[in-house]
Symmetry: C2
Subunit: 718 residues, 2 copies
């Protein structure tokens, strides 16, 4: 797999990738002009002020830039080489550059490890070369970096330089860099990480998180590299404590994930685990490119949204209703105006209309000039302490000498404590939007839905992410020592080479003992080699009991009739045991062991499980049993380990959790015990990287105060 | 409630509302210029060519238009009066106009029945006047009509006249008419139905459906009027057979519905029933105003989408992945290219890249001129019979003399058999989009998501709506005669004045007999006045039995312990009966009857119910029992009656239906019998308008071939 080198993050290296003092373009074309995709030409047009060189065996000078046949011939060692040569000669070119002393590379070339076997061989070759010299690389298959602040761009697509803004993007397609900087709001810095042979999201995010000129970081992510998920979460958590990080995650569909494999070589992985990771990191997920534009703009231009209470001031009753719908969709509330606000508003309205929120301004304007009435309504509402953010809906025009655009700016300037968004309509909307957004005081959107969504993104960041309470992630009492603290790794329970835990009598016993060693309650149990031994064991446990085959984990015990519930006598146990041995014996899977357990007919059945995710490592999954998981796929996932608060959130994320809280007239379940079990289980899977999959299915959760118990455990080593 | 007059649809009346030969504006202002909202001024500016008059007691002429103190003084009887006077004098003004002989009114004034008691009184007064004269009205609270074809507009907001397009809108806010005609694509005709005191959606839709110049009708709907839902569905079904009808339904949230009540007086009603009605009518639901713009544009400019197979041709691998995600979101598929297409593509691509869909064009362009390569790819894919629609993603620029805009138009012109949509990026995107959309050959969108969604709307119409198979809606055999055919209405089962069916022994019996008269299987039953009678009846039915209180419908029998299952002996029945009588008797609800039923322990529990919707009348609801309905609200709704195909769709719409088809190792249920029960039940509720609510809960559905049976019925008269 890829070599992850985020541990080797070096701020000076990253800064040079975005702001090199000297650059050589290897493979620079002699063609110039539109359609030539000439990197040198673009760099010059972008206003780059450092020293420039070209490597081209057929030219001594291109566009006034001195060119040389080989890197070795350069008069100095440039900070950065941008390489755009056919794939077959990439290893040789990188070798030449490394020998010259160059240590930073942007590799534009496509057709490497993402493409075919030959590409993978070539990539392995140049990666070995880079490692030998401690050199670093962005790409392959990349447009590289753009730095509007310092006038550097390695893009082969021409980019028009505009004023730098406090937004940055890390993407996996040149599209966001090449098309006049993606988000229509403009950009400060951007990097296309391409196929991430070396530098990936975590290092770039750390760099942009540390840049004081960058106020908001957007990510376009097809996929992280396997194994770097936790590093990404760690870095993103640090950055989101200081500034918002937004992610447009693509390749979330089955077909999209397949396409990503051939495009950037990304293994998309499980979208639900990505979502858990984003939640954990405080990274705000966006729906599409409109959302990317809209949200970046909101974070650049608007003050914090300190609550979820929105006031809607609308010149159109119908527009107000659209906004109300959108508030419900995006988890915002319509503010309840204070008595003072209501008093002021009532004076403006005709007797037949009680003002409300959404506030339809038109009836208040009958027989009066509309703009001053709108402005008075705005002042009243904007001063209301029950209002956290304001959406104004209105036509963009000049009325009786009052220009709506002037008013929009004025309103924003005098109210910098709350975000104000506008849905402006009409022929002047575009020009007014351009004017007010240039003022950086408010943001204009093309619909109520998108304006409300932008406010919701602000609230998500300022209320949820910035306001998050850190739950100290403590190991619960009674756990075995953490692996790093233990003398030898606690891997004795699971032997990757041998049968899985739960496979055979020894495996079943080992699995239950592992659970018990983490303080996870297990239905009382005993193993038995024969039906008669099982009957004796049942006598010790107390009747009635459950009898099961202790078969391989893949065995579908229930379907085979190899689980018998509620056996009340020794004779019944012997008879059932013989039948199970016969049924399972027929399968030719070797000796059949038996497992005797106390019979627990009551309680809710839930599933607590874990998969080791290739990107994010151990996860913990929760779902109610039966149709909830099997038919409705109603499960929730978090990264392991979790604390009690996170475990509680995990349970409440399932649609079916109401059942545990006493829906349908049943007694509420012992959620406290369930949460404790999930927490302990999450530490178990964290401590045991040799476990690829483990399911406690079912866990029985009894009525409040009566605890819970794992009844069956299925473990697959990785 | 409102007087619905859709039955009185008159095409000549509707045409005059949109294209009057002569118009009087009553209450015209002497103020003119920006901010005056002068209807006369707007009408003149819009190029109206008919005869114009004003009524204003203080002017004899405004903007060259002759004005008179009262309607009676007009020199002719105008086709239409546009009224914009304070609410208190609306009845008098309408009386004057009616006496003059005017029969059509657009009433701009706000503050009528939607506002307060006084407004309702005023509205009742002028509505009575209108009815007396057979006059018709659009509004109140409306901008009225806009007709770009014939240069008429009653809007008080100035509207810039553009070239007419084949799109029409019926809305409940002036916003779509006032802001340069709402959908950015332009408009042909539009009407703001306002508060629908008289003319509403069905008449307007019928009129626009019949207009050959109108190719697509968009609706912005807060709510229909109570009672007109079926008329709307009937009209919409007719129109959607000829041209697409799109709806942006607002007031779908709780807060939005509340706001709509005070804005347009609309009772929003149940969104799920609206959805059922739209499905039934073939009306395509849109998400927001972007969707409205995008979809109208697609239907105006693009040829039919005859399947769901999309080809994505992209200059960016990353963009292709976004498109793949969007295809999954919107129910489209990525086309599998034919062997011929693949052969042609392979010749263009480097050996290391196997072309696919999404087709990333960039690797094929390495070392070549990109535009001709894109064009060749396009030609191959566009000719592929496996492709129903094409999304192109690319930068909008001029390259080596080839302008992408030229190519976009050329591609569309030579390929009129399939819809082609573009996501164009870059600084020239806006101008190229304007150019190619003026050519009316393809449509340009600002993201892959929105381009794919537009294709999905086309496929929804051309595949699903146009291609729908009409299921003949036949009364199943064995039903009682339809009410209109029967000598007296079949209302004997339910007496609205008396206790509900299911209330008391007589009610319970009547309810079951009503079900049986529709051929709906019911668990075998008998009523009993005493526990001893119940034991005798149980002997006749055969043990074991179920015993229940035959109480009022609101009685929570299960919670009260007034339901006993599986009673095996006469003694058990007597004992249980006495206990039930004691428990229920304590409630003081009068005499307690008993119901004895055969005990049916097996089978899936489902719920089949019905509510009489205020807008759409009888509905039929289906859901699986237990947690599916009570916790997950997993139910589906259709308008009654339904045929077998519709009933099958209803069942399959629930998330839990997989349980009935044999999920979790259970036997598949008798879906055929369930469908037959739903069909019969849907006719029952259709025939019995006196039933407000009825629930069969549970219906037991047995294994395939073994039928189903209603076990309990709860009926509430309306």
């Amino acid at each position: 797999m890829h070599q992850i080198s985020t541990a080797s993050y070096d701020p000076i290296v990253m800064e040079r990738f975005f702001n090199p003092s000297s650059v050589v373009v290897v493979g620079v074309s002699r063609m110039t002009g539109e359609g030539s995709f000439n990197i040198l030409e673009n760099l010059i047009a972008f206003g780059y002020r450092g020293r420039l060189y070209g490597v081209n065996p057929k030219a001594t000078e291109i566009l006034g830039v001195p060119c040389f046949p080989r890197a070795q011939d350069l008069p100095e060692v440039p900070d950065l080489a941008v390489i755009t040569v056919p794939r077959e000669i990439v290893p040789q070119v990188i070798r030449d550059c490394c020998e010259k002393g160059i240590r930073l590379f942007i590799l534009v070339t496509q057709g490497l490890a993402e493409a075919d076997e030959r590409g993978a061989v070539l990539q392995a070759e140049f990666m070995a070369e880079l490692r030998r010299h401690g050199a670093r690389l962005i790409g392959p298959n990349t447009l590289g970096t753009v730095n509007v602040f310092d006038s550097f761009s390695s893009s082969f697509m021409p980019i028009t330089r505009k004023e730098p803004l406090g937004s940055a993007i890390i993407c996996q397609t040149g599209l966001f860099l090449a098309t006049d900087l993606g988000p229509t709001t403009g950009l400060g810095k951007g990097v296309d990480v391409g196929n991430q042979a070396d530098i990936g999201f975590p290092e770039c995010l750390r760099y942009l998180g540390d840049d004081p000129r960058v106020e908001v970081v957007a990510l376009h992510m097809e996929g992280l590299r396997p194994g770097e998920g936790r590093e990404f979460v760690r870095v993103a958590r640090e950055v989101t404590a200081r500034k918002p990080v937004l992610v447009y995650k693509t390749a979330r569909s089955v077909v999209g994930a397949e396409a990503a494999g051939s495009h950037s070589g990304s293994l998309a992985g499980s979208d639900v685990v990505y979502q858990a990771a984003f939640d954990e990191a405080g990274v705000i997920r966006l729906a599409d490119v409109d959302d990317l534009d809209d949200s970046v703009k909101a974070f650049l231009h608007l003050p914090p949204m300190r609550g979820r209470r929105v006031a809607v001031i609308s010149a159109s009753g119908g527009g107000g209703i659209m906004a109300a719908d959108a508030c419900e969709d995006y988890g915002l509330e319509l503010a309840r105006f204070s008595p003072e606000t209501m008093k002021g508003l009532r004076e403006l309205y005709p007797s037949w209309m009680e003002p409300g929120n959404p506030l339809d301004v038109w009836p208040a304007s009958i027989g009066k000039l509309y703009p001053p009435v709108f402005q008075t309504c705005f002042e009243l509402v904007a001063s209301d302490p029950n209002v956290d953010g304001i959406l104004c809906i209105g036509g963009a025009f000049t009325l009786a000498g009052l220009d709506v655009g002037d008013f929009v700016v004025l309103a924003a300037e005098t109210r910098r404590d709350k975000p104000i968004v506008w849905w402006l309509q009409g022929r002047k909307a575009v020009s007014i939007a351009a004017r007010v957004e240039a003022s950086r005081k408010c943001a204009v959107y093309p619909s109520a839905d998108r304006a409300v969504r932008a406010l919701a993104r602000l609230a998500r960041y300022h209320v949820d992410v910035k306001g998050r309470n850190e739950e100290p992630l403590l190991r619960p009492e009674g756990l075995p020592p953490a692996p790093e603290a233990a003398a030898s790794p606690a891997t004795s329970a699971v032997d990757p080479a041998g049968p899985a835990v739960g496979g055979g009598v020894d495996g079943a016993a080992a699995g239950f003992r592992l659970l018990e060693s983490y303080g996870i309650p297990v239905a009382r149990w005993a193993t038995a080699a024969t039906p008669e031994e099982a009957a004796t064991a049942a006598g010790r446990l107390g009747f009635p009991v459950v009898l099961k085959a202790a078969g391989p984990p893949a065995l579908h015990k229930t379907e085979l009739g190899a689980v018998r519930l509620g056996l009340g006598t020794p004779e019944a146990v012997v008879e059932a045991g013989r039948d199970i041995v016969t049924r399972v014996g027929h399968l030719g899977l070797g000796g059949v062991g038996l497992l005797v357990q106390e019979y627990l007919p009551d309680g809710h059945e839930v599933i607590v499980g874990s998969r080791r995710d290739p990107h994010f490592g151990p996860t913990v999954l929760f779902g109610l049993g039966g149709i909830f998981t099997e038919v409705l796929k109603d499960v929730a996932v978090a990264l392991a380990p979790v604390g009690p608060a996170q475990a509680g959130v995990l349970v409440r994320k399932t649609r079916g959790h109401a059942v545990l809280e006493g829906a349908r007239g049943r007694e509420p379940a012992d959620l406290e015990a369930l949460v404790d079990l999930i927490v302990r289980f999450s530490w178990l899977v964290t401590d045991h990287p040799e476990i690829a999959e483990i399911d406690l299915n079912p866990v029985k959760v009894f009525a409040a105060g009566r605890g819970c118990a794992a009844v069956d455990a299925r473990v697959l080593p990785g």
